[in-house]
């Protein structure tokens, strides 16, 4: 029942918003998003609710959603960030914009909740469409090209994944004689050694493009740069998690043995991605790009935690997914405010904004510190758990991750100093208004609470995570 609400509220809301006038659309969308947050709060109270209905019986496809520990807080992240993004959006964008945002919320909710591989795939692709239209219709000069790049690169990954999805079900059919896409039934597949690398490859490619991880991030600079700030916040905060989430949700149960076999190679790959993102962030002069590459680096860190195949590493990764979503989403929203106030994204021309806009500078500093992993804030807790997992497995990768954490402090503080500190050579900008503070304060409180009380999330996630990696344990994959 709760699931019908979780999926139905944004979907019906999107249609209702389309019928409102352009001026009322923002308020309507905010109400819908608030309802969705309330629905999620109801979800927190009870035991993990599921929805399990027959959908296409001929193919064994089921409408199966679960809010297990892996998904629960990603659902919450989606609900919260959508509400904040709607509040931060310009009312002049009109009803179609808010309709697409709510449709994206629907698709993300479905994606994080789906435990049927067919269903997962459906939402995996559907989530691309609203972003394409938001980039095409409501972004900067290069937005249309960015939208096309986003859709084509992502579909390149996901269409090959489609072959993987069907192949997994066909292999299951050949051993059991029945057709099913239920992820929990697709474990222990007798994949031939010839097909296994290909099968693993198509899934990993799709996940790596969506995240994105180096070297599949070709769409990222344009899309993050051109999209309106709230859309970038949703892209980096929510949708990027879908990529790393896929490794946990799909690859670990279905191809856990292969994940174990290719572990070293995968870790080297994401370690390169980790360093690459950090170094790229260091040399950007566009403030949105600093955050974009920082986000790439953090996602690589999450992937590193997953590939460590230790309980601590995977737990840290799940935690950091949620924390990173809140932090980087907020950071992009604040950068959006800065861009709106100054008309520029180049921070070489900006200096000393804290003189005229102290509130803006304070919130900026808070989220920048959270992102770089200051103890007491959630970035630290997640990175600590990942490091713990890495130290257990292989110290070399832990050293790399540690060095990158130092670089992270460097690029974040460089960004902060570049924009906010120094002698102001820019006409004073208007500080944040009450409306903006209204959505920033709860967000900052949420980040602080998660930072000092990570157990609030990990406590929920642990039981189902152990369940999720059960198969890998049996393979000797988790240490």
């Amino acid at each position: 029942m709760l699931w019908i609400g979780l999926l139905g509220i944004p979907l019906v809301g999107a249609l209702v918003v389309l019928l409102l006038s352009d001026r009322a659309a923002k308020l309507g969308a905010a109400v819908v998003a608030a309802l969705e947050v309330a629905a999620f709060a109801a979800l927190l109270g009870g035991v993990a609710p599921t929805l399990n209905l027959a959908w296409i019986p001929a193919w064994g496809v089921r409408l199966h959603f679960t809010a297990d520990g892996l998904a629960l807080f990603l659902l919450g992240l989606t609900a919260v960030m959508t509400l904040v993004a709607i509040c931060a959006s310009n009312v002049q964008y009109g009803r179609a914009y808010f309709g697409w945002i709510l449709f994206m919320e629907f698709a993300s909710m479905g994606l994080f909740g789906a435990v049927d591989l067919f269903l997962f795939y459906i939402f995996w692709e559907v989530v691309l469409i609203p972003i394409f239209f938001l980039l095409t219709g409501w972004s900067g000069a290069k937005g249309r090209a960015a939208g096309l790049k986003w859709l084509i690169m992502n579909l390149f990954g996901s269409l090959f994944m489609l072959i993987g999805v069907v192949a997994v079900a066909v292999i299951h059919n050949q051993t059991t004689g029945s057709l099913s896409f239920e992820i929990s039934q697709l474990t222990n597949l007798p994949v031939s050694s010839l097909a296994a690398p290909w099968l693993f490859g198509v899934f990993a490619l799709a996940f790596a493009i969506k995240a994105p991880l180096w070297p599949f991030h070709g769409w990222m600079p344009d899309a993050y740069g051109e999209a309106p700030a709230p859309v970038t916040a949703l892209l980096a905060g929510v949708l990027s998690k879908a990529g790393v989430f896929g490794f946990l949700r799909v690859l670990l149960p279905i191809l856990g043995a292969e994940l174990h076999a290719y572990q070293t190679g995968l870790m080297i790959w994401v370690a390169v991605s980790l360093v690459y993102g950090a170094l790229m962030a260091l040399r950007q002069t566009d403030m949105k790009m600093v955050s974009a590459y920082a986000s790439l680096s953090h996602l690589s860190m999450i992937a590193l935690g997953i590939f460590s195949l230790t309980a601590a590493g995977i737990l840290g990764a799940t935690f950091l997914m949620v924390a990173h979503g809140l932090m980087v989403g907020s950071l992009f929203l604040i950068l959006g405010v800065v861009e709106e106030r100054t008309g520029s994204r180049e921070f070489t021309g900006l200096m000393g904004l804290n003189q005229g806009a102290p509130r803006l500078a304070t919130y900026f500093l808070f989220f920048a510190l959270a992102t770089l992993g200051l103890p007491g804030l959630p970035g630290f807790a997640g990175e600590y758990m990942i490091m713990q997992g890495l130290v257990v497995h292989e110290v070399g990768f832990a050293v790399v991750a540690g060095i990158v954490l130092i670089v992270a402090a460097w690029y974040m503080l460089r960004l902060f100093q570049g924009i906010m500190q120094g002698r102001p050579d820019h006409p004073a900008v208007v500080d944040m208004n009450a409306g903006q503070v209204a959505w920033l304060v709860p967000l900052a409180i949420l980040v602080a609470v998660i930072g000092v009380w990570p157990a609030g999330i990990t406590g929920h996630a642990v039981p189902s995570l152990y369940h999720a990696v059960h198969f890998a344990v049996a393979q000797g994959g988790i240490r």
Binding site: E125, I129, T136, R144, A167, V170, N173
Partner: protein, 475 residues
């Protein structure tokens, strides 16, 4: 007689329509109404026969089975949508609906054919009215399209007929469902060339590469409703008869033709979609896209398994609905008389997303279904085909489907981007008027496309039944 009632209704309707044109010339549009009612009645009648016991009639030349009934419903949908798209268009002349109905009658005949005679009759009856209809706008482009279509059509008919003659020489019967039984003592040196020529003749109609050259010019030059009938109806007719001939008459040789047709299909998907990329005229775009989709249909035949047959049957409906949606948008943008003289191009879509959001939504649904995005019927069709390819243990076909889809993506996305251009609104978008018939077509196409995408189970069930009987027969 009972079993041929849908065909008789359509034929009778065509005659009645002709009589009405001659007898009561004062009442304009009477023939359109008569034929619309006839096509609807034939559809309802065919639906009531759904649970019929499969049997052969007319000296084993026609089969009455769910396969044929499903085909009948599909081509009637194509015919009805064509009539509605051309509703009240004066320059088509009064005989327009009669010709559409005759063409549909040919397609219906193909659905049940089990002998080469009805195959040939069906293909000719399908084509001849289309040659006339292509030129019905009396313009130079229309004439060129019609002549091109006629010459190439006659050429392919000749090839088809020659192939049939060879097959008859090899087996001394025209009833192709009997071929497996006599294949062992047939004249092999006549059988293979005969089969090859028949397949070539039909793939001409289906527009499979390398027999696709005529498509873009003919689609562009013909009036939009006629293009709709060509794109949907002709494709249904050609695809289903190819499947029936190959899987019924030649399943013993499947290992040979399956792989060959598979290569052709992959080639067609890639070439068709690749050529769609640079198109700016929407009808040409649909022409090339139609070539690409013919490749997808051919995959279902080439896999030669039950999933393939089902997938091909399935794919026809979302493809047709998406085509109808896009053709309806083109038709509405063309507007009144004279609007068709210049084709609808990408620049004509400028500002549509802001000025005409509902029309923009229709085009979006159609294009996304063509591109195979989930929650539209096109995705489920592609999924079905990939499934069929992997069940047939041919991963190469599946990769071909994916590559073909990827290549064509940008072609379907560019019209959507064009709608969002902010620098002004095109003249056509501004002056466009909704028509009642157009609204009916658009609603059916959009609801159908999304409906199949969101809840495909009923259609999956129907195609599994309609292809199932047929499969038992083929062994």
């Amino acid at each position: 007689m009972r079993y041929l009632l849908p065909e008789i209704i359509v034929a009778g309707g065509a005659l009645l329509g002709l009589l009405a044109i001659v007898g009561v010339p004062k009442v304009r549009g009477l023939a359109s109404w008569i034929l619309l009612v006839a096509l609807l009645a034939a559809g309802i009648d065919a639906a009531t026969m759904w649970n019929v016991t499969p049997s052969l009639i007319v000296y084993n030349s026609m089969a009455i089975d769910k396969y044929g009934i499903a085909v009948t419903e599909l081509v009637l949908l194509a015919g009805i949508s064509t009539l509605l798209l051309a509703w009240n268009a004066e320059y088509f002349g009064e005989e327009f609906p009669v010709l559409v109905a005759l063409s549909v009658l040919g397609m219906m005949g193909l659905g049940g054919a089990t002998s080469l005679i009805p195959v040939f009759l069906g293909i000719e009856l399908l084509s001849l009215p289309l040659y006339i209809l292509a030129a019905s706008r009396h313009t130079a482009e229309g004439g060129e399209a019609a002549l091109k279509y006629l010459l190439l059509g006659a050429f392919s008919s000749g090839i088809l007929l020659f192939g049939m003659a060879l097959l008859y020489g090899a087996t001394s019967t025209l009833i192709f469902v009997a071929y497996p039984g006599i294949a062992s003592h047939a004249q092999v040196w006549l059988l293979w060339p005969g089969l090859a020529l028949v397949v070539v003749g039909i793939t001409f109609k289906l527009a499979i590469v390398p027999f696709h050259m005529w498509v873009p010019d003919v689609y562009e030059g013909s009036p939009t409703p006629v293009t709709n009938l060509m794109a949907f109806g002709t494709k249904v007719g050609a695809a289903i008869i190819l499947l029936r001939i190959l899987a019924f008459g030649f399943y013993g040789q499947a290992s040979a033709w399956g792989l060959l047709l598979g290569y052709l299909a992959v080639l067609t998907m890639i070439v068709g979609n690749l050529l769609a990329l640079p198109q700016t005229n929407l009808k040409r775009l649909l022409g090339y896209s139609g070539i690409g989709h013919a490749g997808f249909l051919l995959i279902g035949i080439a896999t030669h398994n039950i999933q393939g047959a089902q997938a091909m049957m399935f794919y026809l409906l979302p493809y047709g609905l998406a085509a109808i949606a896009v053709f309806a948008v083109i038709r509405l943008l063309e507007g009144g008389p004279g609007g068709e003289d210049r084709g609808v191009t990408l620049t004509d879509l400028k500002g549509m997303a802001y000025q005409r959001p509902w029309l923009a939504m229709v085009l979006t649904v159609g294009m996304l279904s063509f591109a195979g995005i989930p929650l539209t019927g096109g995705f489920v069709g592609k999924f079905f085909l990939v499934q069929a390819a992997l069940f047939a243990n041919r991963p190469g076909f599946a990769v071909g489907i994916v590559v073909g889809t990827l290549v064509g993506l940008a072609a379907y996305l560019r019209p959507l981007q064009a709608m969002f251009q902010r620098d002004g609104v095109s003249e056509r978008v501004r002056t466009m008027r909704w028509s009642a018939a157009g609204v009916v077509v658009v609603v059916v196409a959009v609801v159908g496309t999304i409906g199949i995408g969101v809840y495909p189970q009923p259609l999956v069930h129907i195609v599994s039944q309609s292809a199932n009987f047929y499969w038992l027969k083929g062994g």
